[in-house]
């Protein structure tokens, strides 16, 4: 429209120049490889040549028990990993944010800074530090549990098949709780003062104020946090690799899609690395994440909009 009112405007080269570097790097390093990976999943290396095989790799992934057992195991573990995050990380994050945002709370800046510390540490540090703490050799965890009389409940959680995944999920929760806390905190601070004052005039204070007034208003932020958690969890790798190695022991009980992809791609021990199978797994992860993002965009976000100002 604007162009028609000024028909003789010369071509604006500067727009192209401003956009070019970002577009170039982003397209070449991110979009094309992503597309390339999806494409590779349809090929197979036969006698040193990439041959188009259609959905053969996916048939192997789902049909061959050597692959499918591992895949479903990794997917199941990943879902459990996500459930723990949603049930533990986000409610605690919301609670901490709600407490932090209460008016005239002393030391709020200190709490905020301290609780965010684990989030800035790398997985390597977090994984190893917790491995040491939970190690029966060192005995810090049993010693601490002894102080509250729970020593008999101690087992080497990371080494037991039935507990290892939950323990690692909780470690991951410990690390990332700062993110939901900060985002919800920001959302709570942005609620207009008038809304809160109106609620107080109507006698709604304290807990009921949180449930009836603030929570509905921060639902969009909770939606964003959920999708961020989802994408982060189904793409996780580092913590498991650091704490349990690429084999995601004990006995694959902590194997998630990220570690499964790594093993398929690079091979491990007796298994030879296979880029095409790796690409097939990456494609499945892509579809899962895309599915989650679409659910969020089309179902969750459109509904939550109504509550926004």
């Amino acid at each position: 429209m604007a162009a028609e009112t000024r028909p003789k405007r010369p071509f604006r080269w500067h727009i192209g120049i401003f956009l070019a570097p970002a577009l170039l790097v982003y397209t070449a390093i991110m979009i094309l490889p992503l597309a390339g990976t999806l494409q590779l999943s349809l090929f197979r290396n036969i006698e040193q040549h990439q041959v188009f095989v259609g959905f053969e790799n996916f048939r192997t992934l789902f049909g061959d028990p050597n692959w499918s057992v591992n895949f479903w195991n990794a997917l199941r573990n990943n879902v459990w990993f996500f459930i723990i995050h949603m049930l533990v990380q986000n409610p605690i994050g919301v609670m901490l944010a709600a407490l932090l945002s209460s008016p005239r709370l002393r030391f709020a800046a200190f709490y905020r800074t301290a609780i965010f510390v684990p989030t800035i540490l790398s997985f390597v540090i977090v994984g190893f530090a917790w491995k040491l703490i939970l190690s029966p050799l060192w005995g810090v965890a049993p010693h601490l549990m002894d102080l509250v009389g729970l020593k008999s409940f101690f087992t080497p959680w990371l080494g037991k098949e039935q507990y290892a995944l939950t323990a690692l999920s909780l470690i991951s929760v410990w690390q990332f709780i700062g993110i939901p806390m900060m985002l919800i905190y920001a959302a709570l601070l942005s609620i207009p003062e008038e809304v809160i004052e109106a609620a107080e005039c109507d006698g709604i204070t304290g807990m009921s104020q949180f449930w009836k007034i603030k929570l509905p208003l921060i639902l969009p932020s909770i939606g964003i946090i959920s999708i961020l958690t989802f994408v982060g969890n189904f793409n996780a790798f580092d913590l498991i690799y650091t704490a349990q190695g690429a084999l995601a022991g004990p006995n694959y009980s902590t194997d998630i899609l990220g570690t499964f992809l790594y093993r398929a791609f690079f091979g491990f021990q007796l298994q030879v690395g296979d880029p095409n199978m790796g690409a097939a797994i990456a494609t499945m992860m892509f579809l899962i994440i895309l599915g989650g993002v679409c659910v969020y965009l089309f179902l969750v976000q459109t509904r939550l909009r109504r509550y926004q100002f």
Partner: protein, 279 residues
């Protein structure tokens, strides 16, 4: 401002919960740093007490500095992080300016295209990225890592920065145009200085995942020459499983630079998050 929201038991309860969680958050970090300054006997006999003259020992640190080439790894991490950060901020700001300032055909589409990368992790393209790097001879170079991290950081940077650039006053830019400034001068001289605070926010968001990443250094640049500190620490820790002094010292060495930077910049970081950049 009713008095009910500030009743004493409620305040005490809030402090109790927050303090408990602060202890949970900090305990592992403090435990590791504290014990890194102890002798082996001290680590095992009294893990929960600060080092005393009797248990104080720097053996762990001397092992780490003697064995691992941590200073070199540290330099690599620094080069990769600073270079990626520079490109993300420069390219990201330029693209954000183009998207927020000019109306042109395909503007919205371009914005959506760039936003795609916020939700879809670059890691899923690893198989093809490795092939690309092999083909271009960039495997085991820091350049490969810088390229990947630049691409990884751009989508969020463009998204956040264009939100902020929309707030820069049009009058100012038009005044510049009337004075005959070129579009480039307007961008570099007028707009960039005004969005500096939001650049800092983006910098922090971009920096943490790059510094802490293990996946790409492991796959694209695992050679001794190009190891980053995260990968170096991972391998070192794997080798020294039984040497508790060395492990604790290596962990502390990896924690402390990040922690010091965080304490210095935490105000900036938190202001960045709460200013509504990522709502």
């Amino acid at each position: 401002m009713s008095t009910a929201t500030r009743s004493l038991p409620r305040t005490i309860g809030a402090h109790a919960i927050l303090l408990t969680y602060t202890v949970i958050a900090l305990f592992p970090v403090i435990l590791v740093i504290m014990n890194s300054f102890k002798s082996r006997a001290g680590i095992f006999s009294e893990p929960l007490t600060p080092p005393t003259p009797k248990t104080f020992d720097l053996i762990g640190y001397t092992t780490v500095i003697g064995q691992g080439d941590f200073i070199h790894y540290f330099q690599n991490s620094l080069v990769v992080t600073v270079a990626s950060l520079f490109f993300v901020l420069l390219f990201g700001a330029m693209a954000a300016f183009a998207l927020s300032e000019y109306r042109f055909r395909g503007n919205t589409l371009m914005g959506l295209y760039l936003a795609l990368g916020i939700m879809i992790p670059i890691r899923l393209g690893t198989v093809a990225i490795l092939q690309l790097m092999v083909a271009s001879g960039l495997v085991n170079t820091l350049t490969a890592l810088i390229l990947v991290y630049t691409a990884q950081g751009l989508p969020l940077a463009v998204f956040i920065l264009s939100e902020f650039m929309k707030q820069v006053s049009d009058d100012l830019k038009n005044a510049g145009r009337i004075d005959g400034l070129s579009e480039y001068t307007i961008f570099f001289r007028l707009v960039l200085p005004l969005v500096r605070p939001s650049m800092a926010t983006v910098a922090v968001f971009t920096m943490i995942p790059i510094w802490n990443d293990l996946w790409f250094p492991l796959i694209l640049a695992p050679s001794e020459e190009t190891k980053t500190v995260t990968l170096g620490a991972q391998l070192f820790l794997g080798q020294f499983v039984t040497n508790w002094n060395a492990i604790l010292a290596a962990l502390s060495l990896a924690i402390m630079p990040v922690l010091i930077l965080y304490v210095i910049f935490s105000r900036q970081l938190i202001r960045g998050i709460t200013s509504g950049a990522v709502k």
